[in-house]
Amino acid sequence: MGIRFILMVNKQGQTRLAQYYEWLTLEERRALEGEIVRKCLARTEQQCSFVEHRNYKIVYRRYASLFFLVGVDNDENELAILEFIHLLVETMDRHFGNVCELDIMFHLEKAHFMLEEMVMNGCVVETSKSNILAPIQLMDKTS
């Protein structure tokens, strides 16, 4: 399946965006987020950006105060996921202009729309920034 979930969490461990590609109940999500955020936040910058957790891996990357965490299956290419995160941030940056945590908070649905374009069924399906943003910009124009 590839990607199991994508989380954006800030330095204080507060969730800013959560998208799961397999169904988890509210309690399960809460527990999982608490567990992995604690794990990732405790790591130093010199350490790997990958953490093994139960039977999958978390690839994470930090931008300013915001952590992007992606849970992936064990056979996924970690470096590629790391760059996928960066692509996501670059895409958001192109749309929002100097994207910051607050942009994501104010435009939660747009951040989700971008993810919907990029990832389906836990697979990366679109990596061209213009293709990702086209429907969102069209939507902005019409409404």
Partner: protein, 980 residues
């Protein structure tokens, strides 16, 4: 004064915020953003829930307002609280005609509901309608939801439309339709088994996006059935070749690599197809070799592709040249300072050693470095590698290390895994019995409760049966050494239960077998165990049985049984135990002790645990008794399997009608409920949901005519609402499609379609200083003798391996010197020579702002705040000129420390406490390209300093300040540029 300004701005903006959002929403976001603790956040969300519960049911809520409520609901759930009270409103919003509202509604339902939720039934209709929409954006939105919320039962309701959309004129629709089909395949392969040829067809789509997406389902299909897709090897190779030659649109480039994510997916597929297939592999050698050569090894994404190449090369039929290239890349990864690359290197090494075990020896010291690294992730990966390369010559060192590591980890999941690996390796490669027993003892001692009981049983069997050789003396040595070590360990405190069971069993069976220890000594120890672990009944029963065996062997050997006083009291105590099992064992023990030597030898023969015991499973010796009872009128025995069948009423009746009457039970009461009765008791939620959603009845009827029948919940009577979709599935025929034709047409069509885009000449930007350092490292200046020793024991002989290391050593620098050269070009070169970026540079560019102004960490936040409040300052604060700053020794350092600027992002405070956190790009390789962008931008500060949409950002800034969300408040991080 400032207040006046704020008020003025507020008036100017009216009640609507600049984002089209109300003040209420902005306040909510602001307070969540500023919450300092989870408790505070929870409090905010709880009061938000109360507000929403009241507001959302108000009549005549404007559509935009409703959208905002839905987003607020999403917040509530995201922050871990239940928002189910509002689900129905999200469902209602999906019915809206406005695209933005519809898509928001769809988004919310995918976040709130799972595919089996009761409300899905209310969405299926809308989805069906939207799939037919003229507006392709609406079709796309519906397809997104199809991927998330359609379950096995509802697939037929949308399948025909999805299939139709595969030929839609818009590539975005075709792409999502393919993914919807992929989803159906994941959910229920049989539902789309007649449609898989569509995946092959879409592989040849004119649009690279559709082609790229199609690789996802194809990967899944090929994983399951490689042989049916061998004909596509040529197509995949040709696509990969075109991508590598940069014939895809430029927008797929990422950090100067052509469509790297598609390349990776293709390499994964090739690895599957070429595995164990020489012919298929031969098609791939050239293109994989090309990619090895073309990859930019200085960027993360280049290394990601290289890693995938190694995975591919080690999966397909081996090719000496490619293996060599792979080994070179691995060498570079392992010598890198980046932990991420080291991790990938260790992983790649684990893949490659299957083909060329000698590669590992070149890197022994690097591997040991990783093993001793404090980074746990790296360590684990290294242990995985060691596990793969274990052989009898190095098993002792590796397993010892593994156990040492195991002792210190807390993660039970991983501890279990590594414990079972230790056991596996020890069983497979144990050099001596003694070592094996010692190793197992350590594993049990430290991870006892996590070890599967099967492992314990294996160990007992192994000790009983020996290693399978016919050498009896070796077996008895094994047993003696086990007994000896167990008698030593048994006194230690807090041993795991499983381990004690093994100890008790072995001591009972072999405790006195070699005559080294007296029966009274061993029994004394066993009594101590039973005392010390008085809560563990299993251990106690093992101990009692062991005692019994020891006594019996004494009697059989003609010696006098000497029962110790503590043993006697234990027996007495246990004979009154609450556990009947324990009681029985003790009574048996007492009874057997009283028997003579001959009798006991029959009951418990010495060393007979491996003898087969014949069991009469049919209990044929009871036949006479059963026959007699039946003659006396007893009921015949009904096997359990048939008894469970009695629950099924009809089955029961036909089978044995008269018995029902003799039982006198009334089975009628359990008959399946009649549809009419429970309709009264339809779950409240369902009933209310139908009320709340004003889905007009007629629309259902229309659907009925169309094929998909949606019975309203009230007349099905069952709480499980299902679609009746019979007759829908087989509407279309199997598409006629010849695969061989596809592969040829594919390459030709793509040749024409993918534009030839020029190779970006400036692709080789590299300002990575750290690349230089591995050159130094290669010389391995200081190698401690212990490390060398460890290396020797792991890899066998340093001298040999060092020779190997040096032989490849001359290859590596070739790559690195190239890197160095470009590094030598230094930052100023980049600054001057870097041409304008290919795409409009993202506004990272402000980052070019030097530290002149904000540099000192002691910036007065209030002063800054004043500046922020004056929009004119924005412009003036920009870019005193980057060129001066290039004198800074480390350009990366400069970027990470300097505060980002420009619109809202510009408010970030470089306070010293934040400073350490500000290293946004964290030295990852792709930072190089970013910094290149930054520099370029800095060269034209006036043009780009505010990013592409200056007006927007100014608005954003003004609005945010209006809301009072300023960096001086509790969470300045909110404003920090993510890409800063």
């Amino acid at each position: 004064m400032e207040q006046l300004k704020t008020i003025g701005r507020e008036l100017a903006m009216g009640s609507q915020g600049g984002f089209g959002q109300s003040k209420e929403f902005l306040d909510l976001v602001k307070s969540i953003g500023e919450a300092r603790s989870k408790a505070e956040e929870d409090r905010i969300v709880l009061s938000e829930i109360e507000t929403l519960k009241r507001r959302i049911v108000e009549p005549d809520i404007p559509r935009r307002k409703m959208k905002e409520y839905i987003i607020r609901l999403v917040y509530v759930e995201m922050l871990g609280h239940d928002a189910s009270f509002g689900y129905i409103h999200a469902v209602k919003m999906t019915h809206n005609d406005n695209l933005l509202l519809k898509r928001t509604g769809y988004l919310a339902v995918t976040l709130f509901l799972n595919e089996d939720h009761d409300l899905i039934i209310l969405i299926v209709n809308t989805i069906q309608k939207d799939l037919k929409s003229d507006n392709y954006l609406i079709v796309c939105a519906a397809l997104n939801v199809v991927c998330k919320l359609i379950n096995e039962e509802t697939i037929p309701a949308v399948l025909p439309q999805v299939v139709e959309l595969l030929g839609h004129s818009k590539e975005a629709v075709r792409k999502k339709a393919i993914m919807a089909l992929h989803r159906f395949y994941q959910k229920s392969p049989s539902s789309v088994s007649h449609l898989v040829s569509n995946f092959r067809k879409r592989l040849c789509d004119n649009d690279p996006g559709v082609m790229g997406a199609t690789l996802c389902p194809l990967f899944d299909l090929i994983t399951i059935d490689v042989n049916s897709y061998k004909d596509l090897v040529v197509s995949f190779v040709s696509i990969l070749k075109q991508i590598a030659e940069r014939r895809l649109p430029k927008s797929y480039d990422y950090h100067q690599m052509p469509a790297p994510f598609i390349q990776i997916k293709l390499l994964k597929i090739l690895a599957l197809l070429g595995s164990g297939d020489k012919q298929a592999s031969e098609h791939m050698y050239t293109v994989v070799g090309d990619i090895f050569r073309k990859c930019d090894s200085s960027s993360n994404i280049g290394n990601a592709v290289l890693y995938e190449c190694i995975s591919c090369v080690s999966a397909i039929y081996p090719n000496a040249k490619l293996l060599e290239a792979a080994a070179d890349v691995i060498a570079r990864f392992l010598k890198s300072d980046s932990h991420n690359l080291k991790y990938m290197g260790i992983d790649a090494l684990g893949r490659l050693i299957k083909l060329s075990p000698e590669v590992a020896e070149q890197h022994q010291l690097a591997v040991i470095d990783c093993l001793e690294d404090p980074d746990d992730t790296l360590k684990r990966k290294t242990f995985e590698l060691l596990y793969k390369m274990t052989k009898s010559s190095n098993v002792e060192v590796i397993v010892d290390r593994m156990i040492d590591y195991m002792i210190n980890i807390n993660d039970n999941h991983y501890k279990t895994e590594i414990a079972s690996r230790c056991v596996e390796l020890a069983e497979q490669f144990a050099p001596s019995n003694h070592w094996f027993i010692q190793t197992m003892n350590r594993v049990f001692e430290h991870a006892g409760d996590l070890v599967k009981s099967k492992v314990a049983h294996n160990l007992m069997r192994l000790i009983a049966e020996g290693f399978g050789e016919e050498d009896d003396t070796a077996d008895s040595q094994l047993r003696s050494s086990a007994v000896e070590s167990y008698l030593r360990i048994i006194g230690e405190p807090k041993l795991p239960s499983l381990f004690l069971q093994v100890i008790c069993w072995v001591l009972g069976e072999y405790g006195t077998a070699d005559g080294k220890f007296s029966a009274s000594y061993v029994t004394g120890k066993l009594c101590d165990v039973a005392d010390a672990y008085s809560n563990d009944e299993i251990v106690k029963s093992y101990a009692v049985t062991a005692l019994m065996k020891l006594f019996v062997f004494e009697i059989a050997a003609g010696r006098k049984v000497d029962i110790l006083p503590e043993c006697q009291s234990l027996i007495e105590e246990l004979s009154a135990s609450h556990s009947t099992d324990l009681q029985q064992r003790v009574y048996e023990l007492q009874a057997i002790i009283g028997l003579d030597a001959h009798a006991v030898e029959c009951i418990l023969p010495s060393d007979a645990s491996c003898e087969d015991i014949e069991i009469d499973k049919n209990l044929s010796f009871l036949n006479d008794y059963v026959q007699q009872s039946l003659e006396k009128g007893a009921q015949p025995y009904i096997p359990e399997s048939e008894r469970s069948g009695m629950l099924d009423i009809s089955n029961f009746r036909s089978q044995d009608q008269h018995e029902a009457s003799t039982h006198g039970l009334r089975f009628e009461a359990y008959e399946l409920p009649k549809p009419s009765v429970p309709s009264r008791t339809t779950p409240v939620s369902l009933a209310s949901s139908t009320e709340l959603v004003p889905v007009p009845e007629p629309s259902y009827h229309r659907e009925v005519q169309q094929a998909a029948t949606v019975p309203s919940s009230s007349d099905t009577g069952s709480s499980e609402v299902k679609l009746r979709l019979d007759g829908v599935q087989k509407k279309w025929g199997r598409p006629t499609y010849s695969s061989s034709a596809a592969s040829t047409s594919n390459s030709s069509s793509q040749n024409t379609v993918y534009e030839v885009t020029p190779v970006d000449g400036s692709s080789n930007v590299n300002s990575k200083a750290r690349e230089a350092s591995y050159d130094l490292k290669k010389t391995q200046v200081e190698i401690s003798p212990e490390k060398q020793k460890l290396a020797a024991s792991l890899f066998g002989g340093t001298s040999k391996s060092e020779r190997r290391a040096s032989s490849t050593g001359h290859k590596v620098p070739k790559g690195s010197s190239h890197v160095l050269k470009s590094t030598a070009g230094s930052t100023t070169d980049v600054l001057v020579e870097k041409t304008t970026p290919v795409q409009p540079p993202p506004d990272l560019l402000d980052l070019g702002e030097p530290t002149l102004k904000d540099g000192p960490s002691s910036v007065d936040p209030f002063k800054q705040l004043e500046e922020l409040l004056d929009p004119t300052q924005l412009g003036s604060s920009a870019n005193p000129g980057i060129v001066g700053s290039t004198s800074a020794p480390d350009i990366m350092q400069l970027y990470s420390d300097k505060p980002a600027s420009g619109q809202s992002g510009g408010f970030m405070y470089p306070s010293s406490s934040n400073r350490s956190d500000d290293n946004l790009v964290s030295g990852l390789a792709n930072a190089t390209t970013d910094s290149a962008h930054n520099i370029t931008a800095a060269a034209h500060p006036s043009q780009f300093s505010k990013g592409p949409n200056l007006k927007d950002s100014l608005e954003k800034d003004a609005l945010v300040r209006q809301m009072g969300v300023t960096p001086s408040s509790q969470n300045p991080n909110l404003f920090k540029d993510l890409l800063g």
